[in-house]
Every structure is written in structure tokens, then in C-alpha cells.
């Protein structure tokens, strides 16, 4: 079988699965529709594995068809499966398969969840289009496609107006980012005359005569697109609300894959972003700001999924910070490890919610280590990994990012270290409140079925050892596989520059901070009554954090309210009076003139004959005068 065929199977298997589940079969059983969807995803994953082996040893796979042309402007349906794509495709299909499997157990109480599995498979297809496209237009198609699936899945339980609204919010906020993406695309065509990634990157490598100002602008607009999809300040507000969807959806779309497409976009265009230093400064500080803001909010949320959602925003902020520091491999490394442990954490929280029959408030949990031992263990590994405790995955990826921040600017490093500390704090707070201490609720928790536990275990192993994929260069005991592998597509830029602390000292500081905070948080929150005593001293801060800095309210006042006022003005005054009024006026004028003319249409035949005669006389008169002919 040729590699091209294999690639098409990789791409189309989830689409076929989606069509079978959504349009053809519509099975009423979660097991049957889940089996179809999972096997489609697994088939895709197997193809991705084979193709991964192919690109590791041989050249990338390319194929394209003509799509549309207008004069010299030609767009092709182009696909390119290279090293970067293979990493993304493995993450997407691998974690996708596990989450499909998990969903069979999670959705077993739903009646006929074929719609859910159809959406989930469709999402996988769109995500694969996004990561395999060889040009910006194809990427945009996938970009919008995953946005659509995200909307459909957030609002999966659309009977609840709150959840339907959350879906709409995600969709609308993403539109703002997409406007930026489109502007970036237009500028790209203006500057380079092409939208193909290979051509753009080659053009930048070949000569440097392009207008740097325009390129900065283009980078900035593409980044605006990324802030929408990857939930950065100021457009991150949709992601916490997106938790209204089923928990496996949060794990797949809103933690592991879709939200990282902004990171992927920038990594894909890394030769461009290396040059645009002004845009990079913006990117780095936006990332840092997002990471800090979301980390602070996460410390005082009581909904298990909301904590994880803000944690996702915060970790995405770290990745964006790495992008701003031009550490593209570091960002991708964190993307991969984050996909492992955040999917694990979300699935673990799903297992907890499933066990407690829908309870999401961590204050009503506690002591679940006894009743949910496997969830407890795997969730614990995920927590250790995200908190950056060595030698788990998060430690290496976070350290790579912090190292890049350190050589770029001390401010970024201090901020990044603060984010790492915050991460350890809120994650261990969550972990302690959920699993340690004594149970404070009234449900009868029971361990989840095996179909849900297998993905948890697989992801726990990945979270534990995933860090060895990209061991930073400071440790000399292992090569950095990820960097070696990605070298042809995402060049790693040598970081030159002096820093005020050495890399080892910096690493030691962040690790000690993380471990210390983790111990402190688990000590504090294992017994909530201790927290009561301490939190009184911090009540103003807690008040600010638990109200999420009033960002939603602020947007309500500065954007939604004025928009409503303007809309109301237009709907009550402009539309009826000026638009409708103008139309009615012209209609009235027409009717008036018509009324005058109907006077001639008396219906009396002889009246018409008279006019005929007048006409004849006129014609003859003109003929005689020689004015006609």
C-alpha cells in the first residue's frame, strides 16, 4: 500500500466513522456507536504510526489537488505529512482513540449517543485536516471545522439553555480571533504572493528584503487568531465556559488538541516568527499575562472542571510564552506533554464526576482515594506531572520553556517561575480536596468501569515517561529526541545571551518552589478546616480570584452593553424610521404617480379611441412637417 493511500485512510477514517454513526446507522447503544467511532480513531492512529516511521526515515508525504483559481491566484487542496505533522497527528489520533474508548463508559447512561460519537469523529477529521494542510487556506478550513465541532459538543446537552449559551459564546469569541487570522492570511498573500507554508518559509530563508513592518503586522494578526483558538488574553473567556460539554470532550478538544492549534500554527510558520521581533515581544507578554491571570483564578475555583480549565489556559499561556521566546520546540514539547497529563486529569475528573453522579464541587468531595483507587493513582501521577515534579513529563517541558524565558528576559523567567509555582499550588489544592481527607458528600462513590480506567492508565504512563522525549540539553544523559526529529521543519534556534542565574540554579529554584508549594497545598487542603483559618487573612485576594478578576463583567460593560445600546438604537429608530421610512416613502410616491395615471384608464373604449386618434393626428402632423422619417 502506498504511503499516499495510507495517508488518505488516516484522514478519512474518522470522517467515514462520523458518517456511519451520524447519518447511516444511528444506533441507540453507546457500546455499538462507540465501537464504530473508536475503531475509526484507532485505524487512524495506526496509519499515523506507520506514516511516522516513514517520515522519520524518508521524505515527507505530499499530495495536492486543484481547488479554485482566479487569475493568477490559485489555491490547491494540499496536504503535507512531515515531521511536525506526524507529531501532531500522533497526539491527536492517539489521545483521540483513548478518549473515544473512555467515552463509551462515560456516555453509557445517555440514550443513543450516536450524535456524540459522530461529532467526536468529525472533530478528529477536522483536526487532522488542520494539522496536515500544506497551506493556510486548508488549515483555516480545519480551524473552522474544529471550531464547529467544539460548538456542537459544548452544547451537546442543548436542552439546558446555559450549556447552549456556552457553546455560542465559544463560537462567537472565536470569530474575533478568526477575523485576525483572515487579516493575517490577506497580509501573507500581499507579502509573499503565496499561502503555501513551504513557499513562505523558503522565501524567508532565501532573502530578507521583505517589508519587516508588514511581516510584523502579519505575525500579529495570525497571533490574534491563535489567541482566539488557544484561549489567550483577551479572548480566553470562552474556555472556562466550554466546560459545559461532556468531560471527555473537555479532555480531547479543550485541553489536548484543539486549543493547541494556535501553538501549532505559529510553530508551523516559525521561520516567519523568528524574524518578527516586535510581534514576539507581544506574544511573550500576552502568554505570560494569560498564564499568571488564569493561574491566579484557578487557585480559588471550586468546580473541579473549572480548575482544570483555568489550568489549561495557564499552560497554554506558558506555551505561548515559549513561542514568544522563539523556543518553538519547547512549546511543542510542552504541547505534547500537556496533552498527556491534561487529558489524563480531565478524564480522571470525569471518572470522579461519573462516580459521584454529576457532583463537580470539590468542597463536597474528599477522601476519594479509598473508593476510587485507580483514579486516585492516575490522577496523582497527572498532578505530579503538571506540577513539574521531576522526573515526570511536566518537569522537563516546563523547564525547557523556563530556560528559553531565562535567556530572553529575566522578567519573563520570574513570571514563568511564578506560574510554575501557582500550578503546583492549585493542582495540589484540587488533588487534596478531592482525594485526601474524609468524604464530605452524600453520594455512594464507586470505581469506574474498565473501559474508562484503561485510557487513564495509558495516559498515566505517558505522563510519567513522556518527558524523556525531549530532555533539555543541560542534562547530558539523553539526547533531545524531539528536537532532533523536528529539526528539518522546526529549526531550533541557539539561545545566545547571558542570564542573571545559571540554568542549573534556575532549575533548582523552580523545582524547589514547585515541590514546596505542592507539599504546602496538600498539607493545607487535606483538612479544609485549616484552610478556613488561613484564608481569612487572604479574603480580599480570594474575593478577587474567585470572581475571576471580573473579566466577564468587564467585557459585559465595555463591549456587550454598548453593543446592545447601539443595536437598540438601530432596531428602534434607525431601522423602522430611516430604512423602512425611506422605503415606504418611495413606495408612496410610486403609488401617487400611479394613481394619477389610472385616471387615464377609465375603461371607456371610446376614450381610448380618442387618444388613438390624437396620436394618429400627431403622427400625421409630424409626417407632414417632415420631422419624422
Amino acid at each position: 500500500m502506498s504511503m499516499q493511500t495510507l495517508f488518505l485512510i488516516l484522514l478519512l477514517a474518522p470522517l467515514v466513522g462520523s458518517i456511519i454513526n451520524g447519518l447511516v446507522w444511528r444506533s441507540g447503544s453507546a457500546k455499538l456507536s462507540g465501537a464504530v467511532a473508536t475503531s475509526a480513531a484507532f485505524l487512524s492512529f495506526c496509519c499515523a504510526l506507520v506514516l511516522f516511521g516513514q517520515v522519520a526515515s524518508d521524505s515527507p508525504i505530499e499530495m495536492s489537488w486543484r481547488w479554485f483559481e482566479a487569475g493568477s491566484f490559485a489555491i490547491r487542496w494540499g496536504f503535507r505529512f512531515d515531521q511536525l505533522t506526524s507529531v501532531m497527528a500522533l497526539v491527536v489520533t492517539g489521545i483521540g482513540t483513548l478518549i473515544h474508548l473512555y467515552s463509551i463508559g462515560y456516555m453509557s447512561h445517555e440514550k443513543g449517543p450516536y450524535r456524540y460519537f459522530a461529532y467526536l469523529n468529525l472533530f478528529l477529521f477536522q483536526m487532522l485536516v488542520l494539522v496536515t494542510s500544506s497551506n493556510l487556506v486548508g488549515l483555516f478550513v480545519g480551524w473552522e471545522g474544529v471550531g464547529l465541532c467544539s460548538y456542537l459538543l459544548i452544547g451537546y446537552w442543548f436542552e439546558d439553555p446555559e450549556k447552549a449559551k456556552a457553546g455560542m459564546k465559544a463560537f462567537l469569541v472565536n470569530r474575533i480571533g478568526d477575523a485576525g487570522f483572515l487579516l493575517g492570511m490577506f497580509l501573507c498573500y500581499q507579502i509573499f504572493g503565496t499561502l503555501e507554508f513551504q513557499a513562505i518559509n523558503a522565501a524567508i530563508d532565501a532573502k530578507s528584503g521583505f517589508n519587516l513592518h508588514l511581516m510584523n503586522l502579519m505575525a500579529f494578526f495570525l497571533f490574534v487568531g491563535a489567541t482566539g483558538k488557544s484561549a489567550q488574553v483577551p479572548l480566553y473567556v470562552w474556555l472556562p465556559d466550554a466546560m459545559a460539554g461532556p468531560t471527555p470532550v473537555s479532555a480531547l478538544i479543550h485541553a489536548a488538541t484543539m486549543v493547541t492549534s494556535g501553538i501549532y500554527l505559529i510553530a508551523r510558520l516559525s521561520p516567519l516568527f523568528v524574524v518578527t521581533t516586535d510581534a514576539n515581544t507581544v506574544i511573550a507578554y500576552v502568554g505570560l499575562g494569560t498564564a499568571l491571570l488564569a493561574g491566579l483564578i484557578a487557585t480559588s475555583q471550586n468546580d473541579i472542571k473549572k480548575v482544570l480549565a483555568y489550568s489549561t489556559v495557564s499552560q497554554l499561556g506558558l506555551m505561548v510564552l515559549a513561542l514568544g521566546c522563539r523556543a518553538y520546540v519547547a512549546a511543542l514539547f510542552h504541547l505534547v506533554t500537556h496533552a498527556f497529563f491534561k487529558a489524563l486529569l480531565f478524564l480522571g475528573s470525569g471518572s470522579v464526576i461519573h462516580a459521584l453522579e454529576g457532583e463537580q464541587d470539590i468542597l463536597k468531595m474528599g477522601g476519594l482515594r479509598k473508593s476510587l483507587p485507580i483514579t486516585f493513582l492516575t490522577f496523582g501521577i497527572g498532578t505530579l506531572a503538571i506540577a513539574g515534579i521531576p522526573p515526570l513529563a511536566g518537569f522537563f517541558s516546563k523547564d525547557t520553556i523556563l530556560h528559553a524565558a531565562l535567556v530572553t528576559s529575566p522578567v519573563l523567567w520570574v513570571g514563568g517561575a511564578a506560574v510554575a509555582t501557582l500550578t503546583a499550588f492549585y493542582m495540589f489544592r484540587l488533588f487534596s480536596l478531592t482525594f485526601l481527607g474524609t468524604y464530605r458528600g452524600h453520594a455512594h462513590p464507586h470505581e469506574s468501569p474498565a473501559v474508562m480506567l484503561i485510557p487513564l492508565c495509558v495516559l498515566a504512563v505517558a505522563s510519567a515517561v513522556g518527558g524523556f522525549l525531549g530532555v533539555p540539553h543541560e542534562f547530558h544523559f539523553m539526547p533531545n529526541y524531539l528536537e532532533e526529529f523536528l529539526k528539518p521543519v522546526v529549526p531550533s534556534y541557539a539561545f545566545e545571551g547571558t542570564s542573571f542565574v545559571g540554568p542549573y540554579l534556575a532549575m533548582t529554584i523552580t523545582t524547589v518552589l514547585a515541590v514546596g508549594t505542592a507539599l504546602l497545598a496538600s498539607f493545607l487542603y487535606a483538612r479544609p478546616e485549616r484552610v478556613e483559618a488561613i484564608s481569612k487573612g487572604f479574603s480580599p485576594l480570594r474575593f478577587v480570584f474567585s470572581n475571576k478578576f471580573w473579566v466577564d463583567e468587564l467585557y459585559g460593560v465595555i463591549i456587550i452593553k454598548p453593543f446592545q445600546v447601539i443595536s437598540r438604537f438601530f432596531s428602534s429608530l434607525f431601522d423602522p424610521k430611516i430604512i423602512d421610512g425611506g422605503l415606504m416613502l418611495s413606495a408612496k410616491a410610486m403609488r401617487g404617480v400611479g394613481g394619477l395615471i389610472t385616471l387615464l384608464q377609465s375603461g371607456v373604449v371610446q376614450f381610448y379611441l380618442f387618444f388613438m386618434l390624437v396620436g394618429l393626428v400627431l403622427i400625421f402632423w409630424l409626417l407632414l412637417k417632415g420631422m419624422v422619417i
Binding site: 395615471i597 384608464q601 377609465s602 375603461g603 371607456v604 373604449v605 371610446q606 381610448y608
Partner: protein, 105 residues
């Protein structure tokens, strides 16, 4: 030729104009569809009269040939016109033109 014709006026012209005028007035003012049709014939024949007169006076035959054509066409026109009037009568049991006003705008 043109000057010669317009410079001389014969009594037959007065008769023709009178006939034509009567026909026109009746054509425009009478209500009875049959009478209107008859007035139309009157006007046609007023023109015929002039054509015959010119033909006789100049000794040429074009006018007379024209008259034959006019009579032929008039015969056809009357056949059609009477057919229409017959249908109008069947529709409303009257040939009064004032009762046929459905073209009113």
C-alpha cells in the same frame, strides 16, 4: 402635384369632410356599439369619396384601385367587428359600450 391639389377646393371636399366629421363625432360619442361601427364605415367612405373624386379629376386609376382595397378591408373589418359585438351581446345582453368598463385601472 402637391401644390396643385391643395390650391383647388371642390364641393365634393366639403361633403367628404362633413361625412368624416359626422362619422368621427358618432364614433367617439355614441354608446351603441353597432352605431359606432357604422360611424367607422362612414369615415372610411368619406375618404373613399375623396379618392374617387381625385381619380376622376386627374384621369388616373390609382385612387379607384385604392378604393377597392379600402372596401375589401372594410368588409373584413366589419365581419370581425360584428363578431366581437355579437360576443359582447352574448356576454351582457346589451351592446351599450358604457357597460363594458372592465379595463378601468
Amino acid at each position: 402635384m402637391m401644390e396643385k391639389l391643395t390650391s383647388v377646393i371642390y364641393w365634393t371636399h366639403f361633403v367628404a369632410v362633413a361625412l368624416f366629421g359626422l362619422g368621427l363625432i358618432g364614433f367617439l360619442l355614441r354608446r351603441n356599439a353597432l352605431v359606432v361601427l357604422m360611424c367607422l364605415e362612414l369615415m372610411l367612405n368619406a375618404v373613399n369619396l375623396i379618392l374617387v373624386e381625385i381619380s376622376m379629376r386627374t384621369g388616373t386609376s390609382e385612387g379607384i384601385i385604392m378604393v377597392v382595397f379600402v372596401i375589401t378591408v372594410a368588409a373584413a373589418e366589419v365581419a370581425v367587428g360584428l363578431g366581437i359585438i355579437l360576443n359582447l351581446y352574448r356576454m351582457k345582453k346589451t351592446v351599450d359600450l358604457s357597460s363594458f368598463r372592465s379595463l378601468s385601472g
